[in-house]
Symmetry: C2
Subunit: 435 residues, 2 copies
């Protein structure tokens, strides 16, 4: 990998997501050599991916080149690499571009889509964890609108205009709301040949309310807002099969659709090679102690979605979202410094800053500890927080401008089909997971 | 295609480039039914494609959804379609989504890359006529930098860091200048493991000066500016072969490179079905009269790159650039109106607004009739003109902001590899032309 070994302790970080990036930004100020590995050359601001999928933002404004992080220090290196396995006994990481020895290894590989073993969904559905996948969804939505325009077959048109999302967590709620806004504001203007009333957005949720991780208040408000936007919500409904044309559920509900988006769950994305005892198998996450050390290892850490730290407040681990990841990343920088100096480690304590989700163009729901609120002001808070956490002045400015523009004009202008499917019959031949 | 035939005369436009769009914007104000066909759902501002290739701009800010044009009038339709042929005797266009009858047909299909029969270049080289192709070049450049970082083989590193462009027209000059800026400002900061001096940009030109379509003054100045940026210019040098690793020329020059960009020529992109006499075979362009009527047809027109109108000033037709296309598009709207009303047609007269090319981050060359100038002020003019012609308020603002940001920060932040090649051995398996 062409990285000289120096006298400095070497910290290798796998993954430049929220956790890895938060850690990297701290480590590069310390007397350590750092190597950041990622299979993309950019950090993805996942909370805004749904706006890329629905033409509201261009992908470049929610991504940030990882080399712009590592360039701040001569002791820091970035490598575009896919990690294949870890040999802990040799303190070595194996990757597609060669091996790398570490003194301290941090696994921040995040999570991947969980299909719960349902192959039909994995084969025929769409999902959204990366920029290319978000662009795939954008292309598919726009192509289906074009197809619907030209078809003479009313049944086929209906299927093309049915958008079905499984899973009403923040992703499902935000994505269905944004597709509803496309239907309400873009389709009537730009697709005069289509009847917007023929376009239906169905949001399916296995539990008895939308946004199950949030408060009852947020669920209730989000439910109302989605229905006002025209999203059809089906609670207590689990998808059992999707053959590329028909969604079948555990109830009588069955929907013909060409666009089925799976947002019903994630699972850890571990790396091969560690002892079986390091994993909490059911969750696919590494069991870590209060210092984020992986069970059974002294110098291997896990942070973010991939780490499962059991605490009194979170017996099943912290929620797999950005905040615990960022906080663990920042905190771990301190503990690695302590380790190097032979000092006592400090246990991680999660500070819950609250959760929020946006619904449609100007409303949101926010849970801040005991303060729950929703509506326009919540949306304002949502905007501010997301701009704040977005990395880079350029990204913030372009995103802010696009939001104002889209808001004032009821428009979503980033509507390029740049990753076209080879036609609907073959739409699933696209490599959805890899890139 | 689901387009109702009304009493209004129907104008069908093939292609939403500069010519087609200029025409469409005029026609939609008239008492005509208009159908705009394009194989992309967006207009591409080709003069700025090179900035997408070199990470300066995101693709969405130089593209414009074509439906945002057609939506202004209920009599206008857009269809995402690939035209396969024309049956003039039946006034019918055949496409991949069905047939379409026309009263007036306008061919505005533009041009495509001309390989002059050299299969090795078509098979192994890169070129840049569309947004996806520009994104391919962006990915390849960034991947080669990453590869160069990790290779131990000095010969391989050299090949990865050699960027070879054939053809020193505006595209070759602007692209090589922008790659040189990447080398001069981004590589030293973000790729500290690389020696920028190992990165070489070679610009090859078959004629005896760069920018052959422009004035001697512009050629001379652009040559100087490129050399100051560190671009190695090879005049009177024609590429004869590229096997994916080695560029061979008609001189002794041979360069090992993994990035070979072909910008040495375009040729018309005609549609099948018209009489042989309609074509100027050598140019692959339709022969049109002063009213842009295709030779031998009353109600079939060609405008823009695909049209070859012989005039006293331009015996070989107008230059295949944006200005003649825009002017012919606007002018033809008038003539179609005249035809419908049985009035006399007005011959097209080209008003040469001059040509310009930018070199590097803050200089340009401009030919305005007898006024030739270059340097910083020319770059200022270049910026202003390009912002002016860029379609849409959003695109202008985002582009302007990015330019200021890039200029002040010596940065190019749109550096996502979102269309990765499957590894260098297989880089040519990517579908370069189709999308």
């Amino acid at each position: 990998m062409n990285i000289p070994k120096t006298d400095l302790p070497r910290v290798v970080i796998i993954g430049g997501g929220f956790a890895g990036m938060a850690l990297a930004r701290k480590v590069l100020k310390e007397d350590m050599q750092m190597v950041l590995l990622d299979r993309h050359n950019y950090h993805t601001f996942q909370p805004l991916l749904y706006q890329v999928s629905t033409s509201g933002l261009e992908p470049d404004s929610i991504a940030y080149p990882l080399r712009k992080i590592t360039r701040s220090s001569e002791k820091c290196f970035f490598r575009l690499a896919e990690v294949t396995s870890i040999s802990a006994e040799k303190n070595t990481v194996h990757t597609n571009i060669g091996d790398l020895i570490y003194d301290y290894l941090v696994i921040a590989t995040g999570s991947k889509t969980n299909f719960f073993g349902n192959d039909s969904i994995e084969e025929h559905g769409m999902w959204m964890k990366t920029v290319p996948q978000a662009l795939n969804i954008r292309s598919l939505i726009l192509e289906n609108l074009e197809q619907a325009t030209i078809t003479d077959d009313p049944e086929k048109r209906k299927a093309l205009l049915n958008f079905v999302l499984a899973g009403a967590g923040p992703t499902g709620v935000e994505l269905s709301g944004a597709i509803a806004e496309l239907r309400n504001h873009i389709v009537p203007k730009d697709y005069p040949d289509l009847d917007p009333n023929e376009m239906n957005i169905h949001l399916l949720e296995g539990l008895d309310r939308v946004l199950p991780p949030m408060s009852e208040h947020a669920s209730k408000k989000a439910h109302e807002m989605l229905e006002e936007l025209g999203v059809k919500i089906h609670l207590n409904t689990m998808v059992e099969n999707y053959d590329g044309h028909l969604v079948e559920t555990n109830t009588e509900l069955a929907i013909k659709t060409e666009t089925f988006i799976w947002s019903a769950g994630v699972t850890g994305a571990p790396v091969a090679g560690l002892n079986a005892s390091a994993m909490v198998e059911k969750a696919n996450r590494y069991e870590v102690n209060a210092f984020n050390q992986v069970n059974g290892y002294e110098n291997i850490f896990a942070i973010g979605d991939i780490a499962l730290m059991q605490t009194e407040d979170f017996p099943k681990g912290h929620p797999m979202v950005a905040q615990p990841a960022i906080q663990q990343g920042k905190h771990l920088a301190k503990n690695i410094k302590h380790l190097i100096r032979g000092e006592k480690l400090e246990p991680f304590e999660y500070f819950d800053k609250g959760t929020m989700a946006t619904v449609g163009r100007n409303r949101a729901v926010v849970d801040l500890h005991k303060w729950k609120f929703s509506g326009f002001f919540a949306w304002f808070v949502w905007m501010f927080v997301h701009l704040w956490f977005l990395v880079g002045f350029r990204n913030r400015t372009v995103t802010f401008f696009n939001w104002i523009y889209n808001y004032v004009n009821f428009d979503k202008a980033a509507r390029l089909i740049i990753r076209p499917f080879k036609g609907h019959e073959e739409k699933m031949t696209m490599d959805k997971e890899k890139v």
